[in-house]
């Protein structure tokens, strides 16, 4: 990430680089299914959306698949059919999800079957946040340090996102972290995104506990699509079968902070 930041900085600063929109004749590939399934701990309604890929030069209209047979099950023997509710989205109801349980989602589309299994990590309680005032490139702003105690006995994967309440523009975007260097530590790290909150902002702060296969997908999505990647490739999906997208079962916590 630093690499990209530094390189783009260098190029834009010293060397007077320039960009131009060009016409390229791109190859097209066969249409693939794109599945995004989500099970949230504590919820009893869960979703899967199924769409397909489209050629690069077409407008961004992604057709939904409505004739799939979808089931959701857990490792306690519970199972439910997920029904199509429009635009390629399938829904399971009355299926309460818990931390530590393992969920399997299966979709049959024509003669193809896609399946994925994920265990919801145990929640790491988000206790609050501390604010650090900082300046970047002449801009003063505030960094948010979420307060939590990383458990030493597990490898944890986190996702964070914070945004200004009722604002569409001020959004950090998705921030990934694991505890590779901070296992068992009380968090001190500000996770910095594309939004530097100002004094007086009301900020919604979200923290997800995600599974390793989900982290791998999101991480590879970031790495492989970066302009600096030597060999761009599709993110590492946790679906069996040749599908794009991912299935996540996770816990989610959310707090609201007013920046002093």
């Amino acid at each position: 990430m630093y690499k990209i930041l530094i390189i783009s900085f260098l190029f834009s600063f010293a060397l007077g680089s320039c960009t131009k929109v060009i016409d390229l004749d791109l190859n097209s590939s066969e249409t693939k299914y794109v599945l995004k399934g989500e099970v949230i701990s504590g919820d009893s309604t869960h979703h899967l959306s199924i769409t397909t890929t489209i050629p690069f030069d077409e407008p961004n209209v992604f057709p939904g698949i409505s004739d799939a047979v979808v089931t959701l099950s857990d490792d306690f023997g519970n199972s439910a059919a997920m029904l199509h509710i429009g635009n390629g989205v399938y829904e399971a109801q009355n299926f309460l999800a818990f931390d530590g349980r393992t969920y399997t989602m299966t979709a049959e589309i024509g003669d193809k079957t896609f399946s994925s299994t994920v265990t919801i990590p145990y929640v790491v309680p988000l206790l609050g946040a501390t604010i650090i005032e900082s300046s970047f490139f002449g801009q003063t702003g505030n960094l948010i340090v979420p307060t939590f105690q990383d458990p030493a006995q597990y490898t944890n994967y986190y996702k964070f996102r914070y945004y200004e309440k009722d604002s569409l523009d001020n959004d950090s975007g998705e921030i990934l972290s694991d505890d590779e260097f901070s296992n068992g530590q009380f968090n001190q790290q500000p996770f910095i995104g594309n939004y530097l909150p100002a004094s007086g902002d009301t900020v919604v702060y979200k923290m997800w506990g995600i599974a390793q296969s989900v982290y791998k997908f999101l991480y590879s999505k970031d790495v492989n699509t970066s302009p600096n990647s030597g060999a761009p490739a599709n993110p590492v999906s946790n679906w069996s079968g040749d599908a794009l997208g991912y299935f996540t079962a996770h816990n989610l916590q959310q707090i609201q902070i007013v920046i002093p």
Binding site: L5, I22, L26, S134, G138, Q185
Partner: protein, 775 residues
């Protein structure tokens, strides 16, 4: 080991006597008469005998054994005054020669021009010697003269990118080049993310590139060896030279420690782009930004008596990049101590002790949150080489080399209260040993052979920590802790090399050769070109030594009294144990990095054509390469062959240098090459309200072709007393071609329902002025 060496020396001495009473040796050292610098590659030939002669070695030493008799020896070197001396060879004679360069005495005596036909005669193939005079005249970006950028203009050598000092040789990757500075390997030979090489041209004496065809005394990389020798420093008088450029300045000081006995040289270079940042408006916040590099080269040498000389040379370079709270610094440090000893008139010894270090660190300084992530590599290297000159037709080089590699692939250090566990990835230790013997044999006037054998062993050593073994899916199959320096595994390889030349007419020859090379240090990189944060890994239990076999044939022909040189070479190279990484691999500070790697094979083949004009007012060359480079890696591209990123079918370079008169020199270069093989999207989809691109076959697309013309004008101001100076004006990318550095894809700014391709161009016309001086 010492015993073995003594026996070997005795053996060769016996060999020496066995030739009978009637042969004697002429030997000595060849130097520049004004600076006292030893001269490399000078030919010494008796005019009475054709097809025999000696060439001075990398320390200026030569040895020539001939039957008793009276000979007229001609000592010739380009741009130097020819030295002729008649010697009555009735005993072993020591003859040190001081050659004077043409600058002082032009017009009065005959000057040796490069009428040499060495390129036709010698068996060595795939070799390029860089003329340091050309480097001063060829236009380069930002006016920073650079040997690597001049190399990139030769057939078979390709630039890693616009303005980049990384290079690919005959389809090899950037890490498959061994770059030696006074015998010390330099691991990341570039500055400012690749735009400048680490070599300060002012202090370089010679640079030779072997395109995978290196003699047996060199080894360790698949694609090439770039052997760079630094100047020794003027042993006659004190001098200085330097340059003031657009982005950097240079200064070199040199002089005698004791006249004709020893000398020193110290050179520095620093960029000052960051100083301009102080002029930017406060609110842009760029004033705290750091962006510079510097280099320091030093060298000392001292001659003890007639037979011994000691050299100490060192290099230290650092890049510093700081963006507010983020900082990145990296650099190389090398040190070499060498001892030359002339054992007898036919046996020359050089002993080297070398240390190489490369490291980088990313620093984050927040308020109360300091973090440093880094990696380090350190080599201890011992090399003993003998050169034995049994007679006028053979030159035997033999010796041994032992290197201890230590790599810390990742290290994280946090400040007190940063909430970070300080951790160090387990270091990778290895011992790389080699023995080599090589003979340059001039069979007769028409037939020359260069052959040799290099045996290499790599020992994977324990580090006192856990070693992991991975299966093909990257899952851990074994984790065993080994004691520090316990031998875990040995890899033994034999590398034969043979090159033959047959001179079928006075000016033409055909050549053929085969060489095998083995590489035990591997760069793990997932970016477009090399980056300072890429990690070097030695061979381990999981990572096998890379092996390349290269076959070469060529036709060499000189025209018009050797004024024009033409060469054509065809090569085929097959490579084993090539390394790539899994999709989405985490290469930064990853303890299990070897589980992210994939292995396969590669092949590269091509034709290289080069026509050079070496004398006259207009000099230069025309180079063309037609080549293909492919890889086949398990689990990538459905296990099918695919093009390597650096595969460029056509590559053309034209270099012209025109000496208008004594004061002005005009030069121009033009390059054209097929675009890199890249992977473009083949479709798109939506996920989490984002548009994401679909990728299919690896490197199935092409960047647009690259072409560019550069020009330079050098104005040499008339020399006053000892003060020489010149102005250099250059324009990089004269006609402002928008060569794409990257092509990326994004949502259209005008219509968000559409996606578009955007190309980024780095350099559109860069004019530069540089002032150089010398006294």
């Amino acid at each position: 080991m010492t015993k073995t060496l003594t026996i070997l020396i005795l053996l060769f001495s016996a060999f020496n006597n066995g030739f009978g009473q009637s042969k004697y040796t002429l030997s000595g050292t060849i130097k520049d008469s004004t600076t006292g610098e030893s001269l490399i590659g000078v030919s010494i030939r008796p005019s009475e005998l054709s097809g025999v002669g000696a060439i001075s070695n990398e320390y200026g030493f030569y040895s020539l054994t001939l039957p008793e008799g009276k000979y007229t020896f001609v000592v010739a070197y380009p741009t130097y005054v020819r030295y002729v001396r008649t010697v009555d060879l009735r005993q072993n004679i020591s003859l040190n020669v001081n050659l004077s360069s043409q600058i002082q005495e032009i017009g009065t005596v005959e000057v040796s021009t490069r009428k040499k036909d060495e390129n036709v005669r010698q068996a060595q193939m795939g070799v390029e010697k860089i003329d340091m005079n050309e480097i001063n005249k060829i236009p380069v970006i930002f006016g920073e003269k650079d040997i690597v950028k001049t190399l990139q203009l030769l057939p078979g050598v390709k630039s890693a990118g616009d303005g980049n000092s990384g290079f690919y040789v005959r389809g090899g990757a950037a890490d498959q080049n061994l770059i030696l500075l006074d015998e010390a390997p330099v691991y990341n030979a570039s500055h400012l993310l690749g735009f400048f090489s680490t070599f300060n041209s002012d202090v370089i004496k010679t640079a030779t590139l072997y395109k995978g065809t290196q003699p047996a005394q060199y080894g360790g990389r698949l694609a090439s060896v770039l052997d760079i020798k630094m100047n020794e420093g003027n042993s006659k008088r004190f001098g200085a030279q330097g340059g003031i450029g657009l982005i950097a300045s240079r200064l070199t000081l040199e002089g005698p420690i004791k006249k004709d006995k020893g000398s020193f040289l110290i050179a520095g270079r620093r960029t000052y782009a960051d100083l301009f940042l102080l002029l930017t408006p406060e609110e842009r916040g760029l004033r705290k930004t750091k962006l510079f590099f510097y280099d320091l080269n030093t060298k000392l040498n001292y001659r003890f008596g007639q037979k011994d000389q000691v050299f100490i040379s060192g290099y230290f370079g650092r890049d510093v990049l700081g963006l507010d709270a983020f900082g990145l610094s990296w650099g190389n440090a090398t040190g070499t101590v060498r001892w030359n000893h002339i054992i007898n008139s036919r046996l020359f010894s050089n002993t080297s002790m070398i240390v190489s270090n490369y490291q980088y660190a990313i620093k984050i300084n927040g308020d109360g949150f300091d973090l440093s992530i880094g990696s380090r590599l350190q080599d201890y290297n011992f090399k003993q080489e003998f050169q034995f000159f049994p007679n006028a037709r053979n030159k035997i080089t033999f010796g041994l080399n032992a290197i201890h590699h230590g790599v810390v692939p990742g290290e994280v250090i946090g400040s007190e209260g940063s909430g970070v566990n300080n951790s160090k990835l387990s270091s990778r230790l290895g011992l790389e040993n080699a023995v080599f013997v090589s003979n340059e044999w001039s069979v007769n006037e028409k037939f020359n052979v260069l052959y040799g054998l290099r045996g290499t062993g790599f020992t994977v050593l324990g580090n006192g920590e856990v070693n992991y073994t991975f299966d093909t899916q990257g899952q851990i199959t074994d984790s065993t802790a080994y004691a520090k320096n316990k031998v875990i595994k040995n890899y033994i390889n034999v590398e034969p090399r043979i090159f033959l030349s047959y001179i079928y007419s006075k000016t033409a020859s055909i050549k053929g050769g085969y060489s095998r090379n083995v590489q035990n240090l591997h760069l793990i990189s997932n970016s477009i070109s090399t980056s300072p944060t890429d990690i070097w890994l030695p061979t381990t239990v999981n990572v096998k030594p890379e092996i390349a076999d290269q076959f070469t044939v060529g036709w060499f022909k000189n025209f018009r009294e050797n004024a024009y040189e033409f060469s054509s070479e065809i090569y085929y190279k097959s490579m084993q144990n090539q390394i790539d990484y899994r999709n989405g691999a985490n290469t930064q500070a990853n303890e299990l990095i070897e589980g992210e790697l994939l292995y396969g094979i590669g092949r590269a083949y091509g034709v290289e054509l080069l026509l050079k004009k070496k004398i006259g007012k207009l000099t230069g060359w025309l180079g063309y390469t037609l080549s293909r480079t492919e890889k086949k890696i398990d689990q990538i591209n459905n296990n099918e062959w695919y093009l390597a990123r650096q595969d460029r079918l056509h590559d053309i370079s034209v270099v012209g240098i025109y000496d208008i008169n004594k004061s002005f020199t005009l030069s121009a270069t033009f390059v054209y090459s097929t675009g890199n093989a890249v992977t473009f999207p083949t479709g798109k989809y939506t996920l989490d309200d984002e548009v994401i691109f679909v990728y299919s076959n690896r490197n199935a697309d092409r960047m647009p072709a690259y072409h560019r013309m550069d020009v330079a004008l050098t104005y040499n101001i008339k020399k006053r007393k000892r003060w020489e100076s010149s102005w250099n004006f250059s324009i990089y990318n004269l006609y402002g071609q928008r060569n794409p550095y990257t092509i990326s894809f994004r949502e259209s700014e005008t219509d968000p329902t559409k996606t578009e391709a955007v190309q980024t161009t780095l350099f559109r016309m860069v004019p530069t002025v540089t002032y150089n001086f010398k006294f």
